[in-house]
């Protein structure tokens, strides 16, 4: 399975074929220069120095070659490193853009069931892990493989027997690498998951500190935190032990054994026949050079598993179907009709059950129901956050799925239960990609009674609101969200409990604004306080996803049904007086 992920990631990088090819060419040249050095020295020792020749035309030529190899090698290494980095970073950039695209075009249902942290992790940590794969695993692997191959070729040219003796350690190193992977992977994962536990705990404690303190739970949280930290420490130490046993120390050990074997074999040969001492010199030199790459490789392989898991998650996201609507119909009036509308989030529990109603352009619809009766769901369907069967829900007699996205977004605006403000200035939060004059912005704020806020903010419209609008109170955030919606002059405006956290004075303002707007656009208002929707042209009473009552305020009261009951609860204290 991971093999496929790996192949697909590689294919991703093939877009940059040119970079790959140049990277490989420069790498080969650089490596050739690298391995040429000791060979040149060997020639100098054996053919000149031992014969008592020091300066001659031949030795100067050797010197020239040596210097050339050194500098060409340096340039080559610089170039190949840059080329491989370029490949890695380009791949990751493309991947990031695609992942982000996939994320924001996922249906809303995806965000209901996936935690924010997990999605953000796809965008950042996972793509980072893939970058590591290209930069530190694949590139290192190619570089070191070429180097080790080059070294062994040169060794073979110098002395095939000694080369074979050196090669004896290769299977052992391979075995050690394999064993290390097997043993370290579970340890590594455990350490990682404990670390993310620590961070999750920290994150949660820091965000909920006032609650922990108010509940006097500090000792308990401290204990839990310490517990996780020490567990992490214990596993970390296990990891250190394994690394100590199997990584650098072990490879160093084997290379020392190889050194002993080479010296021994060379010595044995010298007892029987004449030998060139430069060969031993070169071998010692070569041996010193291929240990480092092998250690590096072993360590880097650790990242590989992680990167492939990350890659798999990323591809799962990329492969998931996007939310796609290709409709072109435009909303002109704002008439809404539901025909036997039924809906379920999970195909098990019915949230909306056979609801029919219609509302003419410019009219106001009130929706009433207890918590969980399906009110919010109904409005979310109007925003096409979830797909419904065609012909169940229509705007201007067009089925939802045939409306052009841009028209839908322009024409239907909603002020949510917990409105979201972005990091940025007040103006940016109002503008959101459109174009408005300062006058328009100011008057929109006035409309919702925020002129005093505007004066209070140090830099007026250009005041940065902080993370999620943290500079504003709940009520103010809500009013800003209403202003934002009004600016767009939508055909349909949905207020979902928009007044729940706004104080009564602000609410009165919003009420007046609504009154002013009536007739200009279709209004859908969900309110806990029935007073908000008393004037609505039509009121829907939802109960457990079914439409139980419908009509005007007066007619509903006369029915003496659920609406009247809710109303009487709300006004119960008055009856007592």
């Amino acid at each position: 399975m991971y093999w496929n992920v790996f192949k697909r990631l590689l294919r991703f990088s093939l877009v940059h074929k040119q970079l790959w090819i140049w990277g490989l060419i420069t790498l080969l040249i650089a490596t050739l220069c690298d391995v040429a050095g000791p060979y040149l020295i060997k020639v100098f020792i054996d053919e000149h120095l031992t014969n008592g020749v020091y300066i001659s035309e031949a030795t100067l030529t050797l010197l020239a070659f040596y210097l050339a190899a050194m500098f060409i090698g340096a340039v080559g290494h610089y170039a190949q490193a840059l080329l491989f980095s370029k490949v890695a970073l380009s791949v990751v950039e493309t991947l990031r853009e695609q992942v982000f695209h996939a994320v924001i075009h996922r249906p809303v249902a995806y965000f209901d069931t996936t935690s924010t942290g997990a999605i953000v992790s796809r965008l950042t940590n996972d793509s980072e892990a893939i970058k590591e794969l290209f930069l530190n695993v694949i590139a290192t692997f190619v570089q070191n493989l070429v180097l080790v191959t080059g070294i062994f070729i040169m060794m073979g040219i110098l002395d095939i027997h000694l080369m074979l003796v050196s090669a004896l350690i290769l299977p052992f190193i391979a075995l050690a690498m394999w064993g290390y992977q097997r043993l370290s992977t579970p340890l590594f994962q455990k350490v990682r998951s404990l670390l993310s536990d620590i961070n999750a705990r920290l994150h949660e404690s820091l965000s909920g500190m006032s609650v922990i303190q108010a509940l006097n739970q500090q000792p308990r949280f401290d204990e839990q935190f310490q517990d996780t930290v020490w567990q992490h420490y214990l596993w970390r130490v296990r990891n250190v032990r394994l690394d100590g046993l199997m990584l650098r120390a072990l490879v160093d050990f084997m290379s020392m054994l190889a050194l002993a074997a080479i010296v021994f074999a060379f010595g044995l040969t010298s007892l029987e026949q004449s030998v060139e001492i430069g060969v031993l010199y070169a071998f010692i030199n070569y041996l010193g050079r291929f240990v480092e790459p092998l250690i590096e490789l072993t360590q880097r392989l650790n990242i590989m598993q992680q990167s492939l898991v990350a890659g798999q998650r990323v591809f799962e996201l990329l492969d998931a179907p996007l939310e796609q609507y290709s409709g072109t119909a435009r909303i002109e009036h704002g008439r809404i009709e539901a025909r036997h509308l039924s809906f379920s989030y999970d195909d098990e529990t019915t949230v909306l059950d056979n609801i029919s109603f219609s509302i003419e352009p410019g009219k106001m619809l009130g929706i009433v129901g207890r918590t969980g009766s399906g009110k919010s769901t109904l409005t979310q369907l109007l925003l096409r956050f979830y797909p419904v069967a065609p012909d169940m829900l229509l705007i201007d007699d067009i089925p939802m799925d045939q409306i052009s996205t841009s028209s839908l977004r322009k024409s239907v605006c909603m002020v949510e239960q917990e409105p979201f403000l972005f990091q940025g200035t007040l103006a940016e939060n109002l503008i959101m990609g459109e174009q408005y004059t300062t006058n328009e912005l100011t008057s929109a704020l006035e409309q919702v009674g925020l002129s005093s806020l505007l004066q209070r903010l140090p830099e007026g419209l250009n005041t940065v609101l902080g993370e999620r609008g943290s500079r504003l109170s709940n009520g103010e955030r809500h009013l800003v969200a209403i202003a934002r919606a009004l600016l767009r002059q939508p055909k349909i405006l949905i207020l979902d409990e928009a007044t729940a956290t706004v104080d009564s004075a602000s609410e009165a303002l919003v009420q007046r604004t609504i009154q002013r707007l009536r007739g200009n656009l279709t209004l859908i208002v969900i309110a806990h306080r029935l007073s908000t929707i008393k004037d609505a042209d039509n009121i829907l009473v939802l109960h457990h996803g079914r439409l139980v009552e419908e009509g005007s305020h007066v007619s509903l009261l006369e029915k003496r049904g659920l609406y009247e009951h809710l109303y009487s609860i709300q006004t119960a204290h008055l009856a007592l007086e």
Partner: protein, 604 residues
């Protein structure tokens, strides 16, 4: 370098481990000097054709045994040294956490969560690197360097040594420069990665708003720009990084070349043997690590010392509210508030100078023109078991007032007496123990509902749980959850609706059976019917509790003996529901606004 001195307490506390590691490192460094000498001798014997098989076997055996001993010593020092460094990480994390547990809520409001997290992750890692790899590089680098140098000069030739090291200082300068460049480049790159995280987080949190405003393309191009910046930043790092290898290659190559040129000349003059040249080359190979180690250590130490500074500064941060009180008993639960004025302490920024900050919290803040009083002239008493209602427009200071009652801020210019005792004189633990506070925005922990409730009172019985669930009208909701009370609520309780979260928070507070109950608009997301039910339950269940209810819905305050109407930080009206209605002021008009329709209907 100072950082090693600053961490001395830790080294001292773990000195056994460090001594062992240092001893083992020394042993390894010394033993490593033997093989080049042995091999040099063999080479000379081969050249002079004096080699016999017994010498050869002896040398081979020696190398074999050395390899084993060195391996064992290397494994052990790693375990001791790195094990100790991870202990430092663990201890620092815990220290930070315990420190945070003591800091006041206002601290968490003025510091970004991400920044605090960064201290606990990156800074801790930097410290751990210093105590592990940093020590290794500093000690072993220096030690190996000195030993090898000594061997070269004493056993081979000082002239040759000088010749071989000619290229090195130049390389060292370059390496140091690259190191700095790399470090600053990394900071930029990491910062761009932080931006990537920020925009990701914001996008996902606000995805509904983005979708409903059709902002997908807009935010995508914003994101792409940041992704591009990030790639560019990392590419810049790569440019520096790519210079390392060639620099080392040239240095080593040049060094070998110098050795050979000068050494060859010495051999011709018969001042050096070929075997010595071989030994020397091997020693030269050993010098690569100290060269690396030096630059590496400088980087680690630099980062470690920055991290240490930040962590020290963090740990020195005093809680805004110091637990100065000594009274541990509170028997009376009446409240008396005499407040002339209150400002938020002003902070010039998260990293404001410590002394500066202290001055401001110690009462000089009045002179700051910018900090207008948040609360002014508030005086009231609440008898034990009484109920106080507080209302007023958004931003009128209701929550601030509650925070003062909980002593979340130091109360200069105010006297707040619980049971006749000033809040400053009560131990914080005691104060918190007696108050059950339900905030406007409920915070649930990502565990089961049961666990969340038990945070209120861990020893609560099943019966207690059922009781508070009933009072908070959670019965039906919990029955609707797949696993009932054992349903996991997810990160910050995302799987619950706003109203459900508020009711769980309420139940959690009720479970504590504290004699004082404070609800800060704690039922704002609960629909009116349920709210009425809960208030009715509360009225019977907590008859003896001293209760403070803040609400925008006046219906929730009707039964309070006394209601305060705040406006711009002052009491605008004060009295019972009936009295306030009779005054025909703000309260009455809002009440009318909320109820006028009802009245009209009753007229029909």
């Amino acid at each position: 370098m100072r950082i090693f001195w600053e961490l001395r307490h830790f080294f001292k506390a773990n000195q056994k481990q460090y001594w062992i590691a240092v001893a083992l490192l020394t042993i390894v460094a010394l033993l490593l000097m033997i093989p080049p000498r042995l091999i040099g001798q063999i080479v000379d014997e081969i050249v002079n054709q004096q080699l016999d098989s017994s010498t050869l076997y002896f040398t081979g055996g020696c190398l074999f045994v050395l390899a084993i001993v060195i391996y064992i010593a290397r494994v052990l020092w790693r375990i001791f040294l790195f094990g100790a460094s991870h202990k430092l990480a663990a201890e620092t994390r815990i220290k930070l956490y315990q420190h945070w547990l003591r800091l006041s809520p206002s601290y968490f409001q003025r510091n970004k969560l991400g920044d605090l997290m960064a201290h606990a992750t990156n800074d801790v890692e930097a410290l751990q690197m210093t105590a592990g790899e940093g020590i290794l590089a500093a000690f072993d680098g220096l030690l190996t360097g000195l030993i090898v140098l000594t061997m070269m000069v004493l056993t081979i030739s000082w002239e040759l040594t000088i010749a071989a090291f000619i290229p090195w200082p130049i390389a060292a300068i370059f390496m140091y420069r690259f190191g700095r460049e790399l470090h600053s480049g990394f900071a930029v790159a990491q910062d761009s990665f932080g931006q990537l995280t920020d925009i990701g987080q914001e996008t996902v949190s606000g995805v509904r708003t983005i979708k409903s405003y059709g902002q997908e393309a807009d935010i995508q191009s914003k994101y792409n720009a940041i992704a591009r910046t990030s790639s560019d930043a990392y590419m810049k790092v790569a440019h520096t990084d790519a210079k390392y290898h060639p620099t080392i290659g040239i240095t080593i190559g040049a060094s070998f070349l110098m050795t050979l040129i000068y050494g060859g000349w010495m051999i011709l003059q018969q001042r050096l043997t070929l075997g010595q040249l071989t030994s020397f080359t091997m020693y030269l190979g050993y010098m690569i690590w100290p060269m690396f180690a030096f630059g590496w250590m400088l980087n680690i130490a630099e980062r470690g010392s920055a991290a240490f500074k930040r962590i020290t500064r963090l740990l020195a941060e005093k809680p805004d509210i110091e637990d100065t009180g000594s009274i541990e008993q509170l028997d009376q639960y009446d409240l008396n508030v005499e407040l002339s004025d209150f400002h938020y302490p002003s902070y010039s920024g998260a990293d404001a100078d410590q002394a500066d900050r202290k001055e401001q919290t110690l009462g000089h803040s009045q002179v700051h023109l910018h900090s207008l009083p948040i609360l002014k002239n508030i005086r009231f008493t609440l008898p034990q078991s009484g109920t106080l209602g507080i209302t007023g427009p958004t931003g009128s200071g209701k929550t601030t007032l509650l925070r003062l009652l909980l002593r979340e801020y130091e109360t200069q210019g105010a006297q707040i007496l619980w049971g006749g005792i000033e809040v400053q004189n009560l131990k914080l633990d005691t104060l918190r123990h007696h108050i059950a506070y339900v905030p406007q925005e409920p915070f649930l922990f990502s565990t089961t509902i049961r666990e969340n409730l038990l945070l209120g009172h861990s020893a609560a019985s099943e019966k207690d749980l059922q009781r508070v669930i009933e009072v908070a009208a959670l019965q039906e909701d919990i029955e609707g959850f797949p696993k009932g009370l054992d349903t996991v609520v997810g990160e910050r309780g995302v799987t619950l609706s706003g109203g459900q979260k508020q009711r769980v928070a309420l139940a959690r507070a009720l479970l504590r059976e504290a004699p004082i109950l404070i609800l800060d608009d704690a039922l704002s997301a609960v629909d009116t019917g349920t709210e009425t039910r809960i208030l009715a339950h509360l009225k019977t269940a907590s008859r003896r509790q001293t209760t403070i209810i803040v609400s925008h819905r006046l219906s929730a305050l009707r039964h309070a003996e006394q209601i305060l109407v705040l406006q711009e930080g002052q009491i605008r009206e004060q009295g019972s529901h009936a009295e306030l209605l009779a005054r025909q002021d703000w309260y009455a008009s809002i009440y009318a606004l909320q109820q006028i329709e009802t009245e009209l209907d009753r007229g029909h």
